[in-house]
């Protein structure tokens, strides 16, 4: 039990499951599955498992990772496809028309024990249009037949990856780089964070504030400031986007009567849209709002992208507007 960086925590999960399953295979591109813990322990999956379960690098061809891994999974061998952040949609068609549909289309014959480990950039200044994206989890959540998880800290990341690697269905795991440095104790032994279970980070009575991944990080930064502002916020990190833990959200908003959804994804049809719709249906009369990155690509200049990204200050400001 110690504080561990997210990358290491996730590799702990993968390593443990690969040790328990002699065939589990991971395809990846240029990010070698190597990580070092603060205590200096090294996980090197290539060294430990080697070819063919961990190939020596992989070509710049995300369709191979996902399409090939799907083929592996169709033979009953659990597969992981680790996809870099800037091309999270290169395989969208394959996930939509194949990965998510094959079980149903075949009347239950074809299983798909596949985990797509999708790196996500987040709103990084200087990386510009294609390398500072966020919110693509919402696009995948719209696809039938796949589950979508979005951890916001290393503890959840390890637990959700473990759960994903034991799930009978395809799971896409959105790994935002921002979560890697969040300080959480991560047990050395294996554990699961149940898919579909929200975390109530703070109880409150005035307003329910909800967000995933990087937004959840900003919400937790806002927590003390909200307190100082005399706002009793109930803070919820759904952790799973699909299936969305609607009951927890509805129960909270029934109590607070107000819902603020924060998202580093875009306004139109981002996660906030689904959360607000579900809650508005479940809690007639609730006051709802969303603070999201605008419907624009991420610009490079920090002046612009920082201003566009919902952060602790903007969250407090928004909460005040909703209370006032």
């Amino acid at each position: 039990m110690a504080v561990k960086p997210g990358g290491y925590a996730v590799l702990e999960a993968v390593q443990n499951e690969m040790r328990n399953d002699p065939h589990m295979t991971m395809l990846y591109e240029y990010q070698r599955p190597i990580a070092v813990s603060p205590m200096g322990q090294v996980i090197d999956l290539y060294k430990e498992f080697g070819e063919p379960r961990i190939p020596d690098w992989g070509p710049i061809d995300e369709e191979w990772f996902v399409g090939g891994a799907a083929g592996i999974a169709m033979t009953g061998v659990r597969a992981i496809a680790h996809v870099p952040s800037m091309c999270s949609l290169r395989c969208f068609e394959l996930v939509f028309n194949q990965v998510g549909k094959l079980r149903h289309m075949t009347g239950g014959q074809v299983g798909m024990p596949l985990v797509i480990w999708q790196d996500a950039a987040g709103r990084m200044p200087g990386m510009a249009g294609q390398h500072a994206d966020a919110g693509q989890e919402a696009l995948y959540a719209a696809i039938p037949g796949i589950k979508v998880v979005v951890p916001s800290n290393p503890y959840d990341a390890k637990g959700l990856m473990t759960a994903a690697l034991r799930d009978a269905d395809p799971v896409i795991f959105f790994h935002y780089s921002a979560i890697d440095t969040v300080q959480t104790d991560v047990p050395d032994e294996s554990y699961e964070v149940k898919i579909g279970e929200a975390a109530i980070r703070q109880e409150g009575s005035d307003i329910t504030i909800v967000g995933f991944g990087p937004a959840a990080i900003e919400i937790s930064r806002a927590a003390p400031m909200l307190k100082d502002a005399g706002i009793s916020a109930e803070i919820i990190d759904p952790r799973t986007l699909k299936p969305l833990p609607v009951d927890a959200l509805v129960a909270s908003v029934k109590k607070t009567g107000r819902l603020l959804v924060v998202d580093h994804g875009h306004e139109t049809l981002g996660t906030a849209a689904e959360i607000i719709a579900s809650v508005a249906i479940g809690v007639p009369g609730a006051k709802v709002a969303r603070s999201t990155f605008p419907d624009a690509p991420p610009p490079g200049a920090k002046e612009m992208i920082t201003w566009m990204t919902p952060d602790a200050d903007k969250i407090v400001q928004a909460a005040k507007v909703m209370m006032g």
């Binding site: 191979w64 090939g68 061998v77 194949q98 289309m105 009347g107 037949g145």
Partner: protein, 401 residues
Amino acid sequence: MLEEVGAGPMPEAGEASAEKHAGVSRRSFLRGLGAATAATAVVSHVAVARAGNGWSIGLDGIPPEKLKQMYTLMLKSRWWEEGMKEVFLGGKDNMYGAFHISVGEEASSVGVMAALNEDDYIASNHRGHSHLIAKGGDIDKMSAELMFKETGYNKGFGGSMHITDASRGILGMNGIIGPQYLFAAGAAYSAKVRGTQQVAVAFGGDGSVNNGWYYSGLRNAALYKLPVIAVVENNGYQISMPQQRTNSLINLHDFGAGLEIPHEAVNGMDVMAVYTVAQRAVERARAGGGPTLIETKTYRYYDHAGLAGAKPGVLGAFGLPYRSDSEVRAWIAEDPIPRMRRQLVANSIITEEEADATEAEVKQLVAASIDAARAAAHPKQDAALGHVFANALVKPSQFIA
């Protein structure tokens, strides 16, 4: 009902066979002739087919049982599809949904599958009935699936275009063009991980070479030396697009050169030739020699999908706007089934009588499968909420609580 299905032996090649066209009445045959055009196009196309080292390679060294089985499988594929065609045309069963007929391409599937083991994988496409039957698929479950019955392979979820038999290494037909090359490469990769000797075969049409998945599947099979065989069944058309309009290559298999993948064409109307070429590829794959690209020059006697230009008891669809009837007849004259029958009889592996008996038997099995499918139950409407996930139903969101 199978008496409706064109009875008698398969058509023989050559002029004299005009009357013998399975169930083709003299009238319809002449009507066909009237519509015949573009003979040159035909000739060149057939020439191409012959060019693909399509000599008949003889039966030496192949056990008679195996040969009979190959012949029976071609008949099974042919008569099952002819049988389903009659059901669609008959109208009594209110058939609906997609129906892509393989008739004419049986040698391509049976020839390749004859080189495979039961535990090898195939990833098929929309025109996969013949692939499934050749790999040992159960025609009872196929008939039921085409009628969207609970007893069908896919429990009525899939229909003709999605038939799958995971238990036989049949990763499934697919309605999208191209992914089979990735799936086959992945299945082959899985065999490598498990240390088995399995190979994986991807079947695609001449149109399936047009997109990036074909490249990605073959490229990575070459990179990782995977036991993959890509079989491009070149039947000359993509729906109604002539293959030549979509590719700058005359011989599609030549693409293998750019990836340094062994590649060859073969006469897809000659099951023994296909078998030989496939055996070479399978041996290479099992020996760790990596992928092979095979182009089978073949032809679909019917329209792309459905039954335009098709008639009960008549083999093939005529009068279609995008191809000439004489082209169709030229290919029917190459029909792989009578060709093999001639070889088997000439080598006294079977007698004419045995051949007729086998054919009659197959027709009975087909008829039985159709009758059973008719009798089977339709799926429950809310069954659709299952099989999205392994252990949970989705919500009937069409209704408001």
